[in-house]
Subunit: 143 residues, 3 copies
């Protein structure tokens, strides 16, 4: 197959230990360093965690985001969630799928001079929705 000029791909691996935001802006920035203009695309290869671009200045924002999602989509053993049928993999599993449906699975960010055009306060995060530790893979494309 023809090689697409100047395109490159990689995979970021992240280890998570419970629900919350895990920033990996640094790994992305390092990977793009020295590249020119282009388009960065990130895609998370799981359906029980998400990608998110959010404020990175104040960790309160991340705590509140997590708290909101925990209330919007409570665990399967919460009385309000009795209608759930997919409960064999634990009370955190189906809510994780629901949260993953509501938050981004892919992100596209223009890049100028090898730098993603994030706003001043924006960071790139993996948002874990499962309770137990997981190893997560994010596919990355730059062209």
């Amino acid at each position: 197959m023809p090689h697409r000029a100047n395109a490159m791909q990689t995979s970021f691996e992240l280890t998570t230990s419970g629900p919350g935001l895990y920033e990996f802006s640094g790994a992305v920035t390092d990977w793009l360093a020295g590249q020119g203009d282009g388009l960065l695309t990130l895609f998370v290869r799981h359906s029980s965690c998400s990608l998110l671009v959010q404020e990175n200045a104040d960790s309160d924002v991340q705590r509140d985001l997590k708290a909101f999602l925990a209330r919007l989509v409570p665990p399967a053993d919460h009385p309000s969630m009795r209608y759930l049928t997919h409960v064999l993999e634990g009370p955190d599993d189906m809510p994780a799928h629901i949260r993953a449906a509501l938050l981004p699975v892919s992100l596209s960010i223009p890049v100028a001079d090898g730098k993603p055009l994030l706003g001043t306060w924006q960071g790139i995060y993996l948002f874990e929705h499962r309770d137990r530790p997981h190893r997560r893979r994010v596919a990355a494309h730059f062209s």
Copy 2:
């Protein structure tokens, strides 16, 4: 205008019969077969249905996702939705627009060796939010 080397586009048509997830991973995979590395982008050309990457192993997940959304955004004739004003096109119309705002309208997935880099359990779906049968078009780009 200059032709962009190696880029290609198509349109997927799906027929839906009420709210729920309609997988079309197979059509996407067929279209990309034989291509090399690149980036796949899907965009749904309607504002009352969505695209979704989700677990394809257990149909309970899809049923629960649909049930959650039906509770989060009930029909316009539900007492909790009395504030809605856009109700002329039926009680399922404005909730469909709201659900379409909350779920993806576009998806970007890196492709390696002609295969979208989906995780083991991930499938590509159209998520229909309207009650009556619809014909839906998804624009696809690969480059």
Copy 3:
């Protein structure tokens, strides 16, 4: 660095005056006029507003969308939001971050003959979540 053939980037600036949808389909269309086929990507460089593709035919849809989000994520001084900790920047700030997490930060739209492949009734919007006037920047990439 090598110049990527035929790619171009720009930045759209929008002035907002309170929560709601601000359409900028026209500016995007003007920018792409005369280009060929390709892929448009938009990315909003802020974490308290969103991008959205939605129905542009009836302003009731936009009013109802705004009303739904105001109920789903009320201001921080609403009794149901007492758990929020990031409140120093005003009662509209943390809810704006939450809404920004739920709605798109990036959009990717295939382009044919210099025209984004929007559906008949779709428009491209910035969705402002903050109360006070803001100047918002959207990074755009076409390739």
